[in-house]
Amino acid sequence: MSSELVVDKLTGRGTSGVITVTLENSESQILQQGLAKVTANIKGDGTSNADAALNVSGVVDGSAGINTLTISNPFSAIKSAVPHMTNHDSGYNRGTAVDDASTSVFILRIFQSNSGSLLDADTDHSVTIHGDLA
């Protein structure tokens, strides 16, 4: 018979932010470090889809090819987050780039693949961010 724990919140006992999880092949890792801290599915019109949003405060549609993503709970230090971004495009001609302006603000760029020029292509894009929360 399998066991089930019904609980609202998990907190490390020795250190609040450290819970070790036994993994496949009997390895272990820190639970918190393996979790994505931000996920966002951003539409071409510069809005964030609520279904896919984790820790998203808002998205602002900027100049051509640029969106600014702001998160609710910031990361522990500037340039410590690990953001990933992929474009949703059936046209075979876009690239993406992401960088952080602060612990809670990320600049998302879409560019033309054969020129490197920023382009407002009305394409959706996914963002996943890992790292340590503050």
Partner: protein, 135 residues
């Protein structure tokens, strides 16, 4: 030091919501932070390793479609992709896109473009990582 031996975790107030204390003082969502699917595959539809991926189909040059074992709740999930490139060879350069016209609760289609010539391209190794809500 305490160890909990358990097979399953379920939220108490809401079955689908367990909060985890983060590295600092903020909390984050356990369920939402977990990837719900990942796969490494080849152009011949072989999955070299995967989580929650039942199959990969070769749709056309540079177009592949992954089918999930457990579906997502909506088409609004995040998809990040990776690709093998061949060091020093122009013919091996590639980049990847999620096909916006073919993202559903059960399948995700991805596209690969050669970075030289910008045509559809079967990359040597392809990777997908998905976060989102399970159905």
């Amino acid at each position: 030091m305490s160890t909990l031996n358990v097979d399953a975790l379920v939220g108490n107030s809401s079955a689908n919501a367990i909060t985890v204390r983060g590295e600092g003082t903020a909390t984050t969502s356990l369920q939402q932070g977990l990837a719900k699917q990942w796969v490494k595959f080849q152009a011949d539809e072989t999955m070299l390793d995967n989580f929650n991926t039942s199959s990969v189909a070769d749709i056309n040059v540079g177009k592949f479609q992954m089918t999930r074992t457990a579906n997502l709740a909506s088409a609004n999930y995040t998809t990040v992709l990776g690709v093998d490139v061949t060091d020093g060879s122009d013919s091996g350069l590639a980049t990847a896109y999620a096909d916006n016209g073919n993202l559903t609760t059960s399948i995700t289609r991805v596209l690969y473009l050669s970075a030289t010539g910008f045509g559809a391209y079967d990359a040597d190794g392809m990777y997908t990582l998905i976060h989102g809500d399970l159905a």
